[in-house]
Symmetry: C2
Subunit: 326 residues, 2 copies
Amino acid sequence: MLSEFSLIDRFFARRARATPRAPLGIGDDCALLTPRAGEMLAISTDMLVEGRHFLPDVDPYALGHKALAVNLSDLAAMGAKPLAFTLALALPQAQEDWLSAFSEGMFEIAERFDCELVGGDTTSGPLNICISVFGEVLPQHALRRDAAQPGDDIWISGTLGDARAGLGVLRGEWTAGDEEAAALRKALERPEPRVALGIALRGHARAALDISDGLAGDLLHILERSQMSAHVDVDAVPRSAALRRLAADVQRRCTLAGGDDYELCFTAPISARSAIEAAGKSVAVPVTRIGTISALQAGVPAIVWHDAAGTPLNLTLQGFDHFHAD
Amino acid sequence: MLSEFSLIDRFFARRARATPRAPLGIGDDCALLTPRAGEMLAISTDMLVEGRHFLPDVDPYALGHKALAVNLSDLAAMGAKPLAFTLALALPQAQEDWLSAFSEGMFEIAERFDCELVGGDTTSGPLNICISVFGEVLPQHALRRDAAQPGDDIWISGTLGDARAGLGVLRGEWTAGDEEAAALRKALERPEPRVALGIALRGHARAALDISDGLAGDLLHILERSQMSAHVDVDAVPRSAALRRLAADVQRRCTLAGGDDYELCFTAPISARSAIEAAGKSVAVPVTRIGTISALQAGVPAIVWHDAAGTPLNLTLQGFDHFHAD
């Protein structure tokens, strides 16, 4: 196994060592990180398993990208600046082509977000990718889930539903034109973490999270942690041109219950509207208001859905599985 | 799956939330940690896979213990004080009995070492346990692998070889009496990380690591990183009473090439001998001198083995697989 696993040193450790910033990285018992004085370290861990989080035939470059992207998205949702990550990788066998493409995809996004590989572990076993990512944020800037207040606007970055729509195309649940199918598939396989937006929202937004499991479920996490309710205009939820070509029913289910979007959902006081718009412009990410936070009704956090005319909708979103289904 | 995986919330998240110290732990996009001013954060990640790091029929309580213990051992080898950990867990199915025992074993050692569960991830998939552990250490106290100096003593904590001997008993490679077999098996399944010793060695030891892959291979890591050589008296390597009951050849191979011991191997100047002895006594862990660091011979880091009489030995340790074989 040693000769096989020296491949991993070749694809990961050497490249990581080329530009070290951490005081101590790969090759010792621990990596050492020094957050700047006063900054807190934000930590997130995600494990990706074949069949559950990606298809067996996924392009390894895209997989390397996505494995780190979904972790960086957690930092974005906290308003934290990426610093470093560790990679633990179980592989059935060490295939040079696969490792080369996977590591290229991972380092492309790592270097673009200035996030250094500082350690990890490799082993043989069923394919499993576990990444822990580290960022820094000042305590007063952290975008926590429990900070929503009555009257806050609810905002969404980018557009929702494309990743789930792309999965549906791959699965044959619906069809799309070549151009639309490519755009939807790219949303599924190459999500772009909203790191710059998360940082730009510091001091303006209150609560935030990233949408990995679908708007309906994820917004409920903010409501539960903040003990609030919400009114959401389903017609205001931003959709891409590609998604708008699909049936209205598919659009609605993908935007509200689709997973894997990795856009930010955040709340902010009405007084911050122009600052939020400016933050979005400063990082070239559209931001859209979709609803309002309100005090608890009947003691239970809940989302009241309505259409553009204000007519309440009784949506059934259960049973619409998305890819990231845990 | 949600109802199954709510079991995980029950066994892990609730208990972790009972005594939170981190500013923000389980339930948000990231955990937030605040290392004390001036301290560096030490980070280590280990992934454990069935069949490679533990037997399929392992006691889940022991597995929960060992999964965290091997990570705490990396902190010990850096001289770092444990702070927190994240757990990512893939399970074929969520069995209540298994999760109860696994989490009990994990929390027993976590609480004993004051190491808080701050986040993680759970998914269905082939059994895989990935833990990242976080500790703190002052820069001048970090026990790095690259700090050995010519003339340093080479020290070992506790005894070596029991874990590999215990694996051999399980595999039927050799036999032992009931009492000895139980002691050896305990060494394999319930390693005790030398956290207190690592902290007591701050300011006295120079280089250090924990022995997970066997003395021969692991000491070589110190030599490679420090660009040094070593002379080691194989008869001085400390062995337990249980191991001493096995054949001399088995003893030697288990102590020198056995894995999974999680004892510390460290170097220190001769002037520190009494301080090292006192550090071991202060935490009730025996420490034993086994050799000396020397300047590079012929430019290649190497270990010269000799017996108690000083006679050089030509040992062949390749091909003696241990459990932790990556």
